[in-house]
């Protein structure tokens, strides 16, 4: 490309001749649909301003520049980490602060949860977790926007045949599915008594549903979970979560007692709101996990 004078440049700019070749622009178009004229602007790629020689130079220089930047950042991060308080030592600021002390010493009496982690995420810092469960919902909705086709795409037939002929898969699934789901419910229901909770238990159940769907086909599992149940379950779980927590925040801010008491620590019905919230979170997580799998394979739930 020859060098342009400023006047020529101004003229070209004015007439819109900066665009690439039409054919080149269309080759980049991986998803044709009802196109409008403005999608000519495909041609405005960021590399637009680069001439051929500059482009090869860019490609050559880029890895080295990236390497250099990465090394500089690694150097500074290493220096920083070297000055941090030692890991897992009793005398770090994080371990000595009054925050941790109250969580450990009073957590059992204040929240009623034997599992301190459940007490922290669902009672002390419950607003964060309310946001966190809506992050899941946001991600699921974004995937819906991206993947949801008008109607269900049939699963790839070849994959289906291979999966159905797989005796190992179907027998294993038949044996393991009830166990996996049972274990998932156990993890959710005992989240306040030991390690576990809604997020981990929901992931286990979601994994079980995915296994089941792979082994027996989406038609059979859609009797258990389909678009309608998916929406209903997520709607109810998140609504319950938001409303219950709003009530508890409101009471907290006005120094009122809630109707949910910590109860006797160690009993299944104890720890106030933690058990119902764990169930709600678990349902959302299980549905989201299965929903992702189903959307990516078939384009619908």
């Amino acid at each position: 490309m020859k060098k342009r004078t400023f006047k020529e440049w101004l003229k070209q700019w004015d007439q819109g001749e900066f665009d690439l070749d039409r054919g080149e622009a269309e080759a980049l178009h991986y998803r044709p649909e009802t196109q409008e004229k403005d999608d000519d602007s495909w041609a405005h790629r960021p590399v637009r301003g680069l001439r051929e020689g500059e482009y090869t130079l860019f490609v050559k220089v880029y890895p080295f520049a990236a390497l250099l930047l990465a090394s500089v950042m690694i150097f500074f991060f290493m220096r920083t980490v070297a000055e941090l308080p030692p890991f897992a030592s009793a005398c770090t600021p994080a371990n000595q602060s009054e925050v941790i002390r109250r969580y450990i010493e009073n957590g059992l009496t204040e929240t009623g949860a034997v599992n301190i982690v459940a007490g922290v995420i669902l009672d002390y810092r419950a607003f964060d977790t309310l946001g966190e469960s809506h992050v899941l919902f946001t991600a699921a909705t974004a995937v819906f926007i991206l993947m949801l086709a008008g109607e269900a795409e049939p699963e790839d037939k070849r994959t289906r045949r291979i999966l159905e002929a797989d005796t190992v898969l179907s027998v294993t699934a038949r044996v393991l599915f009830p166990l996996i789901v049972m274990f998932g419910f156990y993890v959710i229901l005992c989240g306040h008594l030991g390690p576990g909770g809604g997020f981990s238990g929901g992931a286990v159940i979601g994994g079980g549903l995915i296994l089941c769907s792979m082994a027996f086909g989406p038609e059979r599992i859609s009797r258990l979970i389909n678009m309608k149940t998916y929406r209903g379950v997520v709607l109810c779980a998140l609504l319950f979560y938001s409303i219950a927590k709003c009530y508890s925040f409101y009471c907290g801010a006005h120094h009122l007692e809630t109707v949910f008491s910590p109860g006797t620590p160690g009993m299944i019905f104890s720890a106030g709101l933690i058990l119902p919230l764990n169930i709600a979170v678990g349902l959302v997580v299980a549905c989201t996990m299965y929903g992702f799998y189903s959307l990516f394979t078939r384009g619908t739930v």
Binding site: W13, D14, Q15, G16, F18, H29, R31, P32, E33, K37, D38, D39, D40, S41, W42, H44, P46, G49, T80, E83, L84, P85, T92, P93, A94, Q96, S97, V99, R102, Y103, D123, Y124, R125, A126, F127, D128, L130, G131, E132, H134, V135, T138, A139, T141, A142, F144, I145, R231, V234, L235, L238, L239, S242, I243, C246, S248, F249, Y250, G252, A253
Partner: protein, 497 residues
């Protein structure tokens, strides 16, 4: 406790609930719900603002039974309430004015998801503005990032998908850096709530203990939020993102989402690092230089552009540069100018995007300048709205843009001598560049094409767009002419920050 202090909690929960409910509603009902929600949020925050400005207090609101440092908290002051009311109003106007474009450009079975995402963005905006907890801020930054991606990619052309992938990569890098900064702060202080963090950081700074980790975390948090809001040299995603989305999304993303990150950064500077520590550690100089460079780079980028949406997007990069330059200038006047610029830009940019959308429709759905010739005659209202917003961008008197440029000039004269000349120079150069590219656009809009087949078709005005456009213009002119009360309120808010 006054009842209106409960509003932030109710509104955030209401936004979350609305998003979940909207996902099962038909598109029309979801739209009405979403519009109603942002209207209610505007009104409630305005009431709260009136209360907070009268009592002249900032209150912490417990989210649960545990005060800081153990439980989550909100912090309600005049500045927070003012910005929430403003953000909700702009969101309402964007959704209202962008309605028609949305109906044309988004598949009907997916339209209700747009409002789900809009509700989530609103929840995130409110939470980012009100939070008193650094980690809650991170959680809602995540919601904001993901739902902005949803708003972008709902228009499913190949280009939009590519743009949203790009946006997501940049945005996630920003979130990641921010999270690293929060982790470093936690490991050297053991706190996540803002008041406790400020106390510990002040102590660490004065004793000099953990100096390097503290510096790194300040850098990481600032750079993370700067990447997310599109500061130079991370501004190149903006052109793709805002250029490819539907106008309402471009307006929400440029006018609200990036502004919410900056407001949160200001909150972190005031409530976490403390103004003294932040301005002593020197990172404000980096923000100042990058802001000034961004103003020039954005303006030059806009000048080279041939697509009206991408031109407006580059001009956004320049406006973000102004805000960071203000933060870098000085902790008092500079911050005031930056806050006013946030408001001015939040009013002007969505108006530009919405009118550009209508103008490009009038020009046969083309965004190229060549085809936009005479579009101002075909859609007269959009032409007027665009022109007024462009005047505000240039900084003509009686608009908000003038006041914000005036404030930047005053801040430059007020500050140190080293920064005075470069700031004034950048202001002058950028005003000339702004004038160049906006005047050129406006002249194009009102220049009759010479082609013979030119028909004088009038595009019928759409009531929802006209309403939104009139409110945008009215707010711009009102706050541009009667800016003194607003400036006083901003100063009062900064003192309570």
């Amino acid at each position: 406790m006054a009842f209106c202090l409960n509003f932030p909690l109710f509104l955030i929960v209401l936004c979350l609930i609305s998003s979940v409910v909207s996902s099962v509603l038909p598109a029309r009902a979801a739209r009405i719900w979403s519009l109603g929600l942002s209207a209610v949020s505007t009104a409630a925050n305005a009431v709260l603002f009136r209360y907070a400005a009268r009592t002249n207090t900032a209150v912490t609101y417990l989210m649960g039974h545990y005060p800081h440092p153990w439980g989550n908290e909100l912090r309600i002051g005049p500045l927070e309430a003012l910005f929430s009311a403003f953000f909700s109003l702009v969101l309402f106007l964007c959704l209202l004015g962008g309605r028609r474009q949305l109906a044309v450009k988004v598949a009907p079975q997916k339209q209700h998801y747009y409002y789900v995402m809009a509700d989530l963005v609103q929840a995130a905006l409110l939470a980012l503005v009100y939070t008193n907890d650094l980690f809650t801020g991170y959680v809602f930054i995540e919601i904001c990032t993901l739902s902005s991606c949803g708003l972008l990619m709902i228009r499913e052309t190949g280009r939009t998908i590519l743009a949203s992938v790009r946006y997501m990569i940049f945005s996630l890098i920003g979130s990641g850096l921010f999270l690293l900064g929060v982790i470093l702060l936690y490991s050297i202080t053991g706190h996540l709530l803002m008041p406790n963090l400020k106390e510990s950081i002040g102590l660490l700074w004065s004793t000099g203990q953990y100096h390097l980790p503290l510096l790194s975390s300040i850098c990481l948090i600032c750079i993370g939020l700067a990447v997310k809001s599109g500061l130079f040299p991370f501004h190149l995603w903006m052109a793709d993102t805002y250029g490819a989305a539907i106008p309402a999304s471009s307006g929400i993303l440029s006018g609200l989402v990036s502004k919410a990150y900056i407001f949160f950064l200001l909150k972190v500077i005031f409530d976490v690092f403390g103004v003294d520590v932040f301005y002593a550690c020197g990172i404000h100089r980096l923000l100042y230089v990058m802001g000034a460079a961004g103003i020039i780079a954005g303006s030059v980028g806009a000048l080279r552009e041939n697509n009206i949406f991408r031109m407006i997007a580059f001009s956004s990069a320049a406006q973000i540069g102004y805000i960071y330059m203000g933060i870098g200038l000085s902790p008092t006047v500079g911050i005031e100018a930056a806050l006013f610029q946030i408001l001015a830009h939040a009013v002007t940019k969505p108006a530009l995007f919405l009118s550009a959308g209508h103008l490009s429709d009038a020009a046969g759905r083309s965004k190229r300048f060549h085809d936009l010739q005479g579009a101002g005659y075909k859609d007269p209202f959009a032409g007027v709205a665009f022109t007024l917003a462009a005047f505000s961008m240039i900084g003509l008197p009686f608009t908000m843009g003038f006041i914000s440029k005036y404030l930047f000039g005053m801040a430059a004269l007020d500050g140190s001598h080293a920064k005075m000349v470069p700031t004034l120079l950048v202001l002058a150069v950028s005003t000339v560049l702004n004038t160049l590219y906006f005047a050129r656009t406006v002249l194009r809009l009102y220049n009759k094409p010479q082609a013979d087949d030119y028909e004088r078709v009038r595009i019928p005005a759409h009531l929802s767009y006209v309403t939104a456009g009139i409110v945008f213009m009215a707010v711009n002119l009102l706050l541009g002419t009667l800016s003194r009360p607003l400036l006083d309120l901003l100063l009062q808010g900064v003192r309570l920050f």
